[in-house]
């Protein structure tokens, strides 16, 4: 065997393993889809009557909330797919990957691509419900939506991986999820608008990279409606891409230069 640092064959195997595992665990599919769906219907219907959007588009709350729920589905899927890393690398399959002659990029890349695939599939599945909310998805929307979903999925998996990799226990992951990941989502404009003039909320929204994931999905879905623009979409997509690249960069660093223990 040649002592090369392998990349693509292992990446493909790690990606495939994540996808096949997911498809074999029906409760994971349901868990990642059903929770946000229930959330969307309950919160959406409850808030609906009192919802006032400053924008001129003036969509109903169920429509406003739709991109936010897509991102929540992606976040949940990404969390489910990365949380396994915690035990997997200590007493599971990943132990073997850690002593294989791999490039240090192989493990994060395999995991990121696996998580992204699952998140995008789940999001697309949920998009089938769009007509129920009165959102029409045509060719142009699909064209814009795909890159937005892929980059958002990549970033969400990245967030999950960054939290999971250094963790000793899944309990720790749940704590971080509640005090860090969920607030990032809530403060992203997913749940309520954070327009200029809303004071500190506005700035939190502007500085929160997750806002741009939601934005790019929202712009893609609403393209053609009043208030949406291709330049907003492009900017949001660009920042989402930067965010995804940053999470990958840090993940690579964590795997390539493990802390001395």
């Amino acid at each position: 065997m040649k002592p090369t640092k392998l990349l693509w064959t292992p990446v493909r195997a790690l990606w495939w393993r994540d996808v096949i595992r997911f498809l074999r665990q029906r409760n994971r599919i349901i868990g990642a889809l059903a929770t946000p769906l229930v959330f969307w219907l309950l919160v959406g219907s409850g808030f609906g009557p009192s919802f006032q959007n400053g924008g001129t588009g003036n969509p109903t709350y169920l429509v406003y909330f739709f991109p936010g729920i897509i991102l929540l589905i992606m976040l949940f899927t990404a969390i489910f797919s990365t949380i396994s890393v915690i035990e997997d690398r200590r007493e599971g399959f990943l132990q073997g990957a850690l002593v294989a002659p791999l490039s240090p990029a192989a493990i994060p890349l395999g995991k990121f691509l696996g998580g992204t695939t699952l998140a995008v599939l789940q999001a697309l599945f949920f998009c089938l419900l769009a007509p129920l909310a009165g959102i029409h998805i045509g060719g142009i929307q699909v064209l814009l939506l795909l890159p937005a979903l892929i980059l958002a999925g990549f970033s969400m998996t990245g967030l999950g991986f960054l939290v999971a990799w250094p963790m000793d226990s899944t309990q720790g992951f749940h704590a971080i999820m509640n005090i860090f990941l969920m607030p990032l989502w809530m403060m992203s404009g997913a749940l309520f608008p954070m327009p200029p003039g809303s004071g500190w909320l506005y700035w939190v929204g502007q500085l929160n990279p997750v806002s741009y994931c939601v934005s790019s999905i929202r712009e893609a879905l609403m393209m053609g409606r009043v208030g949406s623009s291709l330049s907003h979409y492009g900017l949001a997509l660009f920042i989402t891409a930067l965010f995804g690249a940053a999470t990958f960069g840090v993940s690579f660093y964590l795997v390539a230069y493990p802390r001395k223990k």
Binding site: M1, T4, L6, R17, G92, V99, P101
Partner: protein, 322 residues
């Protein structure tokens, strides 16, 4: 000269205040089956993790087939097979899928990988179970799958961490038969950590690791025959320490108190037992004579029982015997 399979030079590893490896030196020949025997906390797993390139030593170095485990980790990884204490298999995948995935981690794919799977699965006699989910297999079969997984890449050195954990005696015998066959047919060097005496007794050579140091090294027969004959254990009504002293004074034999019993070695343990019983008729409640085992070697070298060390790693230095 043939390159040794494994060389460890003055390896030190600390975890905070605790020293897990304390200047360990070790050399293992190619084609050897070598067992590292020691209690939990003795440094076995640390050595395993260093040799499998998981962690780096704080001081000293280790080489596998001439490649440094730190500076040439990729070369080392391409030549070793690693069997972890907890299975590194995916229970949600079938045996075949696990092997496909693992082979891919080493760059194997397509027909070559398929051929190797067929070959290795035959070696570990799992051809019938190829499409079963790993999660449905018994512990013994999972171990065999694990070994098949390592063999896919034709390693020259196989490193196993407590491979018998969770196996019943029959599965353990199976495992060792497979390892011995591997050494014979493929000339694979095998390094195995264990805390099970019987397992260590099957190795070509044994190193006993206690508190991060090698306290004994040799073939099982050498280690056992270096003891001074058979082992005699005496149970008493009371006053074990005083009784041990009496034996020392009376017979000039060094006796020790281990777990509430007086313990000593003697070439003619039967005759000695008869004399002790005659000289101290009312004190002894039980008497046990046996051929020494590796456990006795451990006691002789560290002054403690194997099980005692598991709680708190320490070394009690015994008086040197003449």
């Amino acid at each position: 000269m043939i390159t040794p399979a494994i060389i460890v030079r003055h390896c030190v590893k600390n975890y905070g205040e605790r020293r897990a490896l304390d200047g360990l030196n070790l050399e293992i020949k190619q084609g050897e089956i070598f067992c590292i025997l020691g209690p939990n906390g003795g440094g076995k797993s640390t050595l395993f993790r260093i040799l499998s390139t998981f962690i780096q030593p704080d001081e000293g170095s280790a080489e596998i087939l001439g490649y440094d485990v730190v500076t040439s980790a990729a070369e080392v990884r391409a030549r070793i097979g690693v069997v972890f204490q907890s299975p590194s298999l995916d229970p949600k995948l079938t045996v075949r899928e696990n092997l496909l995935c693992s082979g891919a981690l080493y760059g194997l794919q397509g027909k070559e990988l398929e051929d190797r799977i067929q070959a290795t699965i035959g070696t570990v006699q799992l051809s019938e179970r190829l499409n079963d989910f790993v999660g449905d297999l018994s512990g013994g079969l999972q171990r065999r799958t694990e070994i098949a997984k390592c063999l896919l890449t034709s390693p020259e050195v196989l490193i196993l961490d407590e491979p018998s954990t969770g196996l019943d005696p029959a599965a353990r015998l199976d495992l060792w038969a497979a390892l011995e066959q591997l050494r014979q047919e493929k000339k694979v060097t095998i390094l195995c950590t264990t805390h099970i005496m019987d397992e260590a007794a099957r190795a070509d050579r044994v190193g006993i690791l206690s508190a991060g140091k090698l306290v004994a090294l040799g073939t099982p027969e050498e280690l056992i025959s270096a003891l001074h004959g058979d082992v005699l254990r005496l149970s008493l009504r009371s006053g074990v320490d005083a009784f041990a002293q009496k034996i020392n004074d009376h017979f000039g034999i060094s006796a020790h108190v281990i777990e509430g019993e007086v313990r000593l070695e003697h070439p003619d343990a039967y005759a000695l037992a008869a004399r002790i019983a005659a000289d101290f008729p009312n004190e002894i409640t039980g008497l046990h004579i046996a051929r020494p085992t590796l456990e006795d070697v451990f006691i002789a070298r560290t002054g403690t029982l194997f099980a005692e060390q598991e709680v708190e790693p320490r070394v009690l230095h015994k008086k040197e015997k003449s």
